[in-house]
Symmetry: C2
Subunit: 259 residues, 2 copies
């Protein structure tokens, strides 16, 4: 393991992207290196058939679906419902609504935001796992988390908003629901149950559905060049890039690799 | 929103469970209250047929599967591969291996541990989302995250271990990969790529597969009494219970609900 300093300020995003570009990161640490055969269920053949979708229409669907099934399932359904119509199977047999539990960062625990978990499920289910011949599904999911983390959200404005008041934008600097919602609630001074907060999450969900389809369309055209990295390979531990957010100036170094 | 103090020491797990028992938490905050119809794909009828499985056998499968598909997909496959044989559809059509990306807390980002994400997918796909008539799927997933967070792990010892050295046990006090792996790496003084760390995660995965089947078997017998809570309802924000882990003694209060 490289003994890099892992403070935010000392390891820039640019450094990370360069690192991702010049090393086969997924091969550098055991546990991220396996090429193995799938068990071979009838839907475990990748990629799944995909036709290009309209990002704006997808975002509109996701916005409304948030009010039915919340962040994670709304992203999945905004894309898979259209593919059920345009393609049919295997999308029809995917149990989308089971993923309502992604709400609130998995059942209200504030872990990964559903607007990140949903896109990761979509890209990996369509393109396939990294063991199926391409890392694009995993890398695209990772790129979407990076986009989520560094963008002032929400970027989507509904045509027919369910809430019409002021809508502050905040940068989460994290893929976690707790951090993302917490920073927004602080900036907006609105509580969890407020219509403001609810519509913020619906718009964020729509924004991520838009971005997911934009990247999938590039991939379908053979033009997708991933910006997705696997942070664990850079930090010596599975990690976000915002070490000081929780650790302050006492960011621990991971144990060094034994010779 | 109740203005409760949200420091760990002031809001015990017992308080939370009592709170969960006497209030319909899921109905108390908008965004956790919807009863809505599923879109109605052929697999979106719940519960899925389930037959009781042997927890120990399931754990053994999960341990070995970790070395093929890692934490999240290993839990799913340890259960669904048996149900593919014993039941058939809809398990055969579920694209298990697509979920390899759950490794490393979603593509190495250290968010929710795959040994939590996998069980949540299993319980919600089998029992169904909370909008399908029962909250048991979501609650069971939440209960499993609580078990993960508060138990000295790993509790599973393989019959044919791939690593035979010392195996420290640590309490994560969190469902997050980063926190769970970080605390273990510190206690063991082993790096991310070490065989020790890898086998620790394989054993943890097996332990969670064991626990998941134990609860599913209770549910199948009609004896499941959930201990699962939805933390967002208690804290006024989607949250773990370990506020001081990141915030130290400066735990912020969420904005109060406007009258």
């Amino acid at each position: 393991m490289k003994s890099i300093k892992i403070l935010d300020k000392e390891l820039s995003r640019r450094d990370l992207l360069i690192g991702a570009g010049i090393t086969a990161i997924a091969a550098s640490v055991p546990g991220f290196a396996s090429k193995a055969d799938a068990l071979g269920g009838p839907t475990e053949k990748w990629p799944w058939p995909y036709v290009k979708l309209d990002p704006q229409k997808t975002a509109d669907i996701a916005y409304n679906e948030w009010y039915r099934v919340y962040c994670g399932a709304a992203v999945i359904n905004s894309i898979f419902s259209q593919l059920r119509e345009k393609v049919g199977e295997p999308y029809k047999s995917f149990p989308i609504d089971a993923f309502i539990f992604l709400e609130g960062g998995v059942s209200g625990w504030g872990t990964i935001c559903g607007a990140n978990a949903g896109p990761n499920i979509v890209t990996n289910v369509i393109i396939g796992p990294r063991t199926s011949g391409s890392e694009d599904g995993m890398r695209m999911g990772s790129e979407l988390m990076q986009h989520y983390s560094e963008t002032a959200m929400p970027t989507y404005t509904p045509k027919e908003p369910k809430f019409t008041g002021a809508m502050p934008k905040t940068v989460a600097n994290s893929p976690l629901c707790h951090v993302s919602v917490g920073k927004w609630m602080k900036a907006a001074n609105k509580d969890l149950g407020s219509p403001d907060r609810r519509d913020r999450c619906a718009r964020l969900t729509a924004a991520m559905a838009f971005q997911t389809v934009m990247l999938l369309n590039q991939w379908k055209d053979g033009k997708y060049q991933t910006k997705g990295i696997i942070p664990a390979m850079n930090y010596g531990i599975q990690s976000q890039h915002n070490c000081t957010d929780c650790h302050g100036d006492k960011v621990p170094s991971p144990p060094a690799k034994k010779a």
